[in-house]
Each structure stands twice: as C-alpha cells, then as structure tokens.
Symmetry: D2
Subunit: 365 residues, 4 copies
C-alpha cells in the first residue's frame, strides 16, 4: 500500500534507493514454463543504462541483473522472481548540505514533509534509477506477451524540446542516441543537446509508445480501464506531466464525424481512439504519448529554502543531464508491457470460457 | 478486481447499468463521526444531472440518492455506506438492432468481445450514467476533506471544441450551463452548441479541475504517486483521452530554468508542477486538465459491422448530446476528491507520528 | 480496506446493518454467461433464514433477494451483481439503554472504542444478519462451480453442545432443524435445545463443511494458501472460535506414519490432509470443521459497565436464540464456496496454459 | 495475487526457494523513523534457525540477514525494506528421482499439477525455509509495536505429540530446545524425541502464542476481523492444520453463562474470547493456539506414484526432522506480530480522529 507494488495479477514490487547497496524487484504471478534467463532482461536494461552517449548522465553503472528466485532449469516456476541489481557507482560524497536544502523541482521537500527524514544520496528513492527494475520486469512481460499473443512494444522520441521529430523510419530508432525514428534530424538533435549542455540548461521531451498485435478484450470497464491503467503507469514515471491515448488533447477541437473509428469487415478504418474503446482493447495498436519535464538539476542558481525555513540558493555542479526524456523510451515501453501483461491475466481469469462466433477484426494502422 | 472498486482505504464499489433497476455504490472505509445525509450529496448529483439545459442530453432523471447503510442518527459509523439511485427513465424500446450492431466510437464491440454478450440498453455498464455514483461518493469525500483539512475542489470548462475559454471570474462557473468561468463568452458557447446540434455533429472539450488548501505529503513515492492516481482516475472517466498535471504537455519545449518552482520562506514562487513533486503533494493547488472526446452518437451515418461481421451503417436518431464534456466538470471534481481522500487516509496510516520542526510553506497561485 | 470486501477476483462487497433499511452485497468479477435469477439464490437464503423452527431466533424476515444489476436477459454480463435484501422486521424500540451499556460477549465495547460511536439497533453491523448477503453471494459461486467443475458443497452439524452427532445419513441433513446427518439423534437435540431455552442459557456447536469434486491445483503456495483463505473465511463468521482442516487438532498426537496420505494409481488412499497439500487443492474433498461459541445474549444477568465506566448488569429479555450454530451450516457452505470460486479464477489467470501428461488422480473418501 | 504478499498496509512480499541463491522479503509501508539494523532482526532468525539442537533438522545455515534498502543512517525511511538471506547449505545432489516422485504429505503433487513443473531442490518454494523472511519481517513489526504501543509477543509449545506441556514458568521458554514453559517436563520431551528419531517416525505439536499490551480497537468488523486475519496467518504456516482463538474448540460444549467475559470498572473478568470481540481487539491478551502436523519425511516407506502415474515407494534417508513444530514458535510469534502491525496502521488510517470519554479498561489474565 505504500505504493511500491505495481499490478494486480502480474505484480511487481520494487525496492531500493539510488545509492543504497542494491535495487531490484520481485515479480509475483508470472505464468510458469516461460524460458527465462538474465540474457532476456539485460538488453532492455542496457537501452536504459546511463553513460551510453554524451547526451545522457555520465553515471557509469553496468546495471547487471541477477535472478535470485522463481526460475528452475531455465523456466519460470510460477513463484516469485526476484531480480537484483547491485549499485556500483556510489561515489562517497558529503551530502550534509544536500540534506539540509530542498532542490527546486525535486522531491526533497515533499519527502521530508511526508516522512520527517529522507535519504539524500542521489535522490534516494525518488531517483529515476528506480525505473531500472521496472525495465527488467517489463522485459519478462514482453517476452511472455510476445510468445503467447505475438504482442510487441515499441517507443520513440517524437519531440526534443521545441524540435518535433517526424516519424519516418522505425529502423532508425536503434541507430541513434535519441530513439529518434528519423535519421535526418539527428544532427539537429545533437546540436540542440550540445547547446543545452553548454548553457547548463535542460529541456523536456515527448515520447510515443505503442503496443502492436494486441489481444482484444483487455481492460476492465469501470475503473481499471486499460487506458486508465496506462495513464497511471505513465504518469508514475519520473518527470512525466501529461499522458495521451490516441488523439489525446487533439480531440478537444475534433468533431464526432471525424473521431469515431468506423468498422468494416476488413477491420477498423482509423485509430483515433488509440486502441481502446470503453476502457477495453480493440485489437488495434495501443497509441500512447507522454510529456516529460525538463531536468530540474541545472547549472543556473535557483532560490530555495533549507529545512529550517531559511532562504538559500541551489546550483548543480558537475554531472548534468540536460534531457531526462532521452532515456525514457525503454521505460515507457516497459510500463506499457506491464499494464498489458496484467490485464491479459485478469481478462482470462474472468472470461476464459467466452466463445464468439467470429474472430477479432483487423486493426488500422 | 473486475475493476468496479476505486481506492485503497476510502474504497468505492460501483454497480449498475444505465437502464437496469438501479445504480449506486458502496463506500467502505469512511471515517466515523462525519455528519452525513442525502442533502450533502444531492447538490453535486444535481450539477451532473441530465436535462438541466438544452445543451445536454434530455434524458430526464431525478437521480435521487438514498443512503441505505453506514449512517446512524446523522453520523457515519465507519461501516460501509451504500448509496442507491433508482433508474426512472428507462423507456421501453426495441434494442434488437442495437444488440446486433457495434456503434463506432462506443464500447459495443469491445464489451461483446470481452464478455461474449452485453447489455445494450442505453450503453449498459459503459454509459456515462455510471459516473453518478462517483459524484455521490465524491461529495462524501469533499465534505470530510473540507471539514478535516479545509480542502476545496473546483472545476471549469477551459475549451469547448475550438473555442478557448479564458479564466476570468470563478463566480461565473455556477451561472451558466457550461461551467465557464467567463460570462462574456457564454453567448459564443451557446451559438457553438446550437450549430452543432443543428448539424447533428459533436465536439470535444477541455476541463480543468483544482484542489485548494491541500495537505502536504499525500501520495506514495513510486507507483501510487498522487499524480499517477489522478491520471488513473481522470483517464477512467468516460470519453477522456488526455490528462495533464501542472504545465502538462507544455513542459516539452520548456527549459529547466523556467520549470522548477523556486521556494522561499513565503512559499513557492510558481506552480508549474501543479502541486506535486516526486508524486507527493507540495501543499500548492493541484492543477489537472483533461481532454474529452466528441460524443460518438451523432446524426451522420457511419460505417460499421454487425456481430456476424457483416457491414452495416449506424446513425443516431432522436436524443443527441453534442458535447458530453459539458457535464464532466462535477465528475472530474468528484474523482479528484476521491483520490485525495484515499491518500489522506493512506498517508496518516504510515506517517501519523511524523513531527517536523516547521509548518508547511505556503503555495503559489 | 475497511474489511467489507471478500475475495480477490470474485469479490463480494457487503453492506448494511441489522436494523437499517437494507442489507446486501455487490459481486464483482463473476464470469459472464451464467444463467442467474433470484430463484437460484433464494433457497440458500431460506435455509439460513430465522424463524424456521422453534430452535432458532423468532425474528421473522422473508429475506427476499432482489438482483439490481449485472444480469441481462437471465445471464450474468460480467459486470457487478448487486443483491439487495430489504430489512422488514425492524421493531421500533428504545435503544437508549443498550447504547449506553456494553453487553458481555458482544462487540459493543470494541465497536465503541474503535469508532467512537455505534449503531446499537440489533447489533448494527456486528449482527449475524450480515451473513445473509454472503449466503446469497455463495449461491452464485456454487452455481458457477457446479456448472463449470461439478463441485458441490455440503455442511452439517457434528456437535450441539456436548452432544456429538455421528455422521450417518447425508439425506437426513435437510430433514431436521439442526442440519444433523442422523435421524436418530434428533429427539435428543430437540430435548437439549428445549432445556436450554427453558433455562435461558445457550451452548456452542461444531459444524463440518465439505467441498466435493474439487478442481486440483487451487490455492497459492505461500500466503493465500487455500487452507489459509478457508481459515480466514471461517474465522470471520460470527461466533467462530476455531477452524480445522482435515484432521485438525487431531494431528498433534498423530505419527507421520499415519498422517501422510499415500498415493496410488487409483487415487489417494486416505485424506488426513483434508484436501490440501502445501496450500493447494489435491482434488480430494475439502474437509473443514469450525467451533461456534454459545450465544452471548442469555437470560442470566451478567456484570458489565456503561460507557462512562460505571458498573451495571446486562440481562436479555424476550427473543433468545440458544444456539447460533444451528443456522451456521449454510453460512459455512457459502463461505467455502466463495473461497473456492475465487481461487478457481485466480488459478486460471496464471496457469491456464499448463498442460500435463496425465489426468488428476482420484480422491479418497 | 500469486499469494506471496502478506498484509495490506504493512506489506511483506516474500521470495525465494529452499535451495536457490537466496530467500528474502520486501517490507513496504513501514513507518519512518524506526531505528533498525540487522541486529534487531538476527536474534529472532537465530531462534528459528536449524541446527541449534539435536532435536531439529541438522541443515546448517547461518541465516544471516542483510538490509538492502529502506534504512538510512540507522532509521527506516518509510520506503521498502528489502531483507536478503543468502542460502549457503545447498548440497549438490541428484534430484532426478525426487523430481519424478510425489512424496506423500508433501506439496510435490499439487505444485506439479498447478504449475506443470516444480523446483524439487529441498521442497523449493514449499519448504518451511520460506518462513525465515517472515520471522525477519516480524522482528521489524515487533520492534515498532513495542516502541509505539508496548505490545509484546510470546509463544511456547503446549503439547509435543501426546505429551501435554503444562504452562508453569515463562522464563523457562528460552532455556530449552522446545520452547517449553516448564523445566520439569524437558527430560520427557527429550526422551520422546530421541525415541521418535530412533524409530524414524515423527509427531505433531501444539503451539500457543500471545500478544500482550494490545491496543484496543484493532480489526475490521466484517471480513478482515483481527481473528480472521490471525487464522489466515497461522493456517498459512507450513504444516498447520488447526487454529483456535481464546477457548477455541472448547466453546462447543460451553454454556453462555460461562463464555461471555464480564466487564467491570477494573477490567474484564475473564478472557474466554481470547482478546477479540466482533473481530476487534478488546485490549486483553490475544490468545492463539495452532496444531502442527507430524513431519511427512520419515524413514518408513510409503506408497506413492510418479509423474507418469506409475506406483512407487518413497522413503526418506539421512536428515530427518521428527517434529517440525519445535521451530514453529518464533514463526507463529512473527506472523501474529505482522497481523497486529498491519491492523495498527489500518486502524489509525480510518479512526485517528476518534476521541473517547474514558481510557480502555484493563484486560484479564
């Protein structure tokens, strides 16, 4: 209840702090018989890992995952899978000052007020480092969903600050440091980042993530709608301030004549809904966008107070990560996979016996 | 687990269908000793009620609430509060055709695929009518939060289709059919709606909702972040396709120099964050925006299929509600109140003993 | 969380007080397509109903159930089923005195200390009357389990006070007021009850309940063991003070040579385990026994205090129910059915794809 | 949902298998500011540890606990506490035969049928070794409850096989290998165990566990009654087949004149109820008894089948633990502490504002 468990049937309990001995998670409820080893998980962790380009934080952690339980002779047993990632780059440092001061845009003030104390080392529990175990858990969900339903997850950056990134070529996503589906724009993105880093400033980003080959019928009608759970998952990622499904805020000026996706024997004719109707998956692609705020730790000084209420100034020195959104793509994919996985199990718990006279219709691009 | 219960400690279980005998909810976990009668709940239900102006659906339901349990001699007892609303406007009608056809933009196809059957009467469980019990439950949460913490909830329409509604005067919200905080724009909104109704079309809307006088420290750090739970609650409202906290998607092109809200002994100097840092309330106003899609039932014909996969055409006749967003304001307020209420109880369960050396700092407008 | 919801996937939320307007429950998660009407539920309610013989409380309530939602054209739709039972025998009465005094053996003192106030009318929420909605929900579970898995539930009284009731003939259970599987002992039970009633005293009882034709594999290994959830369900029934699975407390002096049930190609050779190994069903009969304490409301005076801490004396007049255990059999059956139902859904959520080389082996009597 | 998480607000998620790399748990929801180090936890682990006398299993594990998260500078931070215990005594062994055969009285058959595969090494997840993380978590709960409410937990063996152990002197419990509150009976217990071990047989045991200085008002009235949650916790311990609260099965022949505990200004006059009325704590001692079955692994051959359904014989060689009940006392204490802890938090979430005119009355011995 303290908010460290995600999901109902495929449950992931996350633990750890940025600079403690280790971070990790326990996955409970994974179906048995899934082939699983560290090699299935490490690639997604590596995509999220810091230090992979000059455009992201230079903290250098291998983020090597160890499976502590739940797998026997290479197969999941149906019992909890504990994934452990040891922290290795815990520079010893004097946190005395940080402990006293609330950094603007960070969770320092709110943690302190909530708990009366906080772990200041690298942001403690509020660090984005805690998304690593979710990426690991998401890799397990992805594997099962792909094996069982053919579902695939893919994400990309659609805007870096004020630079829109037109979707051109999916194959490019893995070819640059930005997860940009567009080779031509990469030099502009690099220049944008270099300028930001030089000025000690930061910017936001927009990420789009999709699930393809979705099972139909996932999501519960009233509260645990598939889109509601996706919104919960996405807004829970560090620095996210907005979530859209399908046309998102674009629906405000739309007309009903445009929005409602028509059906035909060949499938849906459009996908304004983003793959969800009434909270339940249509079988079309899930289409999700998120907005990520600019990094709060910048080189410009900002006014703040200390924990005695006295005014002070906060300024970040050294390591600086001008756009936390760059590494958000694998995180968003993982969170989407975890939502879909949970609902795949929930759906069959209730509806395993449903038989219908016709197969699902096709989706629309 | 079938998704009809909202909240962890202040739990609301919703039941009913649009045209069944009754709708309602059971609130479990309400603190004891709260003065409560139907008169505390009915006003919010009346704000959501259909038929109150020519701009909303003409279905005519009194939506009279009855308290069936949990209150003794005018005080909550701490045991479940069952709220019942009898359905009274269930026109007898031949649903045979509707049962066979999947209306574009509605949940007909997805319900049918999920469950193998569905209640077609007025949308059954997928009807926005099921938000009424949440508005009722929200009224209970609002009352307790106001009495205990002074918290208040207020919402308004900030855009109707392509018409932006500048915030001018909060007092105007109750003075027009649109929940518009701006008297001067009302004639334009009326003309917009009349034209839509005449053309048989529909449009989307944007609603903003705020919580004021917020307790500090609400929200759990990792998954059950206050903003994540708000996103879940809002995206779960019928027809919502986007959710923003604070600056929302406006953060994408922002710079870190702008975004991070500075602190001073007099309080926060801005509220780009929308009242949440690291998933925990800062004490500033919660600032939430949602996008509502255009009504799917319109007078223009749309292509679809029937449940044997054969092509057909769907066209709505009679009753027509050109913008479902108009009645969404009290719903969004209620859902926000339910999230805050739940977290108020969750917070004190864990942290009731925390003592701090200084009081919370003030928020920023 | 306030403890009024039972189950994880087949969730029953109970509401109401003994003398409020109504009691009832909401069942969420029921599989769709189950034929269901009030006629499926009423018979079990009638078995639990007061006033059916001179040996149970003379309160006269028809306990007529109304289905308010979740059923369309005679089939469950997969959405919440609200079951409502109006209270009809709420004698107007002056509760002033009762409100001030804590009846020994009742929940008066504990409710008052927990909530600071309580509904004194007929015990309010602590009344055994609140088991009626569970009996109703149990009837739904029983029907689905029987239709889907052939599972059946049966219970009987195995001791009334100091009178042991040897199991002789299952067909007799429905033929007497005691749910006794033994015709010959009925006169002795009647005499026992008449004497108790005459003396204004009360006694305990022992009930045994079984599930037959159990699916194999139900129950989660660590905490939500099938037997642990059964113990939770049974100990939660009013007045229950002990729960046994299989040989129960008889295992203390047993030897391992006796206890471990041997397996053979023809099935298990004994059932000391009561149908559960490692928390998971073996396919043998579930065997459960419970101990029910003597009714606390008796005609003899007992010392107590009032809510100002002053000494007083409590004595029940009028209506008197010398053994609440008599009506416990259908309640225990219902609770067992609810546990099995929940686990049937939970099991297939995780393990629907498991394929094994041989069918389950047979159970042992 | 797969049953590896215990508790609602003080949540313990358990992971690991008997012979995997490690076992452990994640405690979520612990109040912040509690002084905590490994030294607070290790003593209870040592009490449960194997190999401490000739009467328990000779497996030799130090069971050294490591705190991986949730503690900063010696204080809990309110974030998840991960406790890790590395397995060190994993003898390499050929499990080929064990994997094929279902040991009578063990979970081999049920795990295999549930999951389609199982980890046979030392019983895998079904091993009583998985109670070690619960003992560790229980130590945290005990510390907080003692510091905050003065509550204490104590357990002892009240019967070993057919040998009843009269309660004489609490101080003796720590002075013998049996947790027996009676010095005089120890030689008889030792002789009993030596005979069993010699004959290769096993026996059951009865354990009593109590909570003293209980807060009043803990427990939820309908399902999550304090006694129901205790029954769930106790029946979930490996090998437990029966649970009693207060007089337990002794209530069956009792009369109401005896059972109902009278109240007086000086406190309750008796404690037949075992500290719970209507599911809510009275402030008296919680009194709980459990029955533990005889160890299933014995030296006598037993009939069984293999996983192809063919008849076979199972016989344990080597290590043999004639009464698993001996080490159950610290486990039962820990589980009781976890239930009380969870309800302490749940209670104040809802009822923190309740003010009463008089203090709780005293309990009865």
């Amino acid at each position: 209840m303290s908010g460290s468990t995600f999901g109902e049937l495929f449950r992931v309990t996350n633990f750890g702090e940025s600079h403690g001995p280790a971070i990790g998670c326990v996955i409970d409820g994974c179906p048995p018989g899934l082939p699983l080893s560290e090699a299935d998980i490490q690639p997604d962790l590596d995509r999220r890992r810091p230090g992979t380009s000059r455009h992201v934080t230079q903290r250098n952690e291998p983020d090597a995952v160890e499976i502590l339980s739940g797998v026997y002779e290479g197969l999941t047993t149906g019992t909890p899978i504990c994934l452990l990632i040891r922290n290795t780059d815990q520079r010893s440092k004097d946190y005395g000052n940080l402990l006293d001061t609330f950094r603007p845009g960070h969770a320092d003030y709110t943690y302190w007020r909530k708990y009366g104390l906080r772990d200041p080392r690298g942001g403690g529990r509020s660090s984005a480092r805690l998304t690593a175990p979710m990426v690991a858990a998401g890799a397990v969900a992805k594997k099962w969903l792909h094996q069982r339903h053919g579902t695939q997850f893919i994400g990309w950056m659609s805007a870096l600050g004020e630079v829109a990134i037109p979707f051109e070529d999916e194959a490019q996503i893995t070819q640059n440091a930005f997860f940009a589906p567009n080779a031509g724009i990469v030099p502009q993105l690099e220049a944008h980042m270099d300028a930001l880093r030089k000025s000690g400033n930061s910017c936001g980003a927009r990420i789009e993530v999709r699930a393809r080959h979705m099972p139909v019928g996932l999501g519960e009608p009233l509260f645990d709608k598939l889109d509601a759970d996706i919104a919960y998952a996405m807004m829970g990622i560090n620095a996210v301030k907005g979530v859209e499904i399908g046309d998102g805020f674009g629906v405000v000026p739309q007309r009903g004549t445009v929005h409602g996706d028509e059906l035909s024997p060949d499938g849906f004719r459009s996908n304004h809904a983003g793959g969800v109707l009434g909270g339940i998956s249509t079988g079309q692609d899930l289409v999700v966008s998120i907005a990520i705020k600019p990094t709060s730790s910048i080189h410009s000084p900002k006014a703040s107070i200390d924990r005695h209420g006295q005014p002070t100034v906060v300024q970040t020195h050294g390591r600086h990560d001008p756009c936390v959104g760059i590494r958000a793509t694998p995180i968003a994919e993982a969170m989407l996979a975890l939502v879909v996985m949970d609902h795949a199990l929930r759906h069959r718990a209730q509806n395993a016996d449903v038989v219908l006279p016709m197969p699902p219709i096709a989706g629309a691009a």
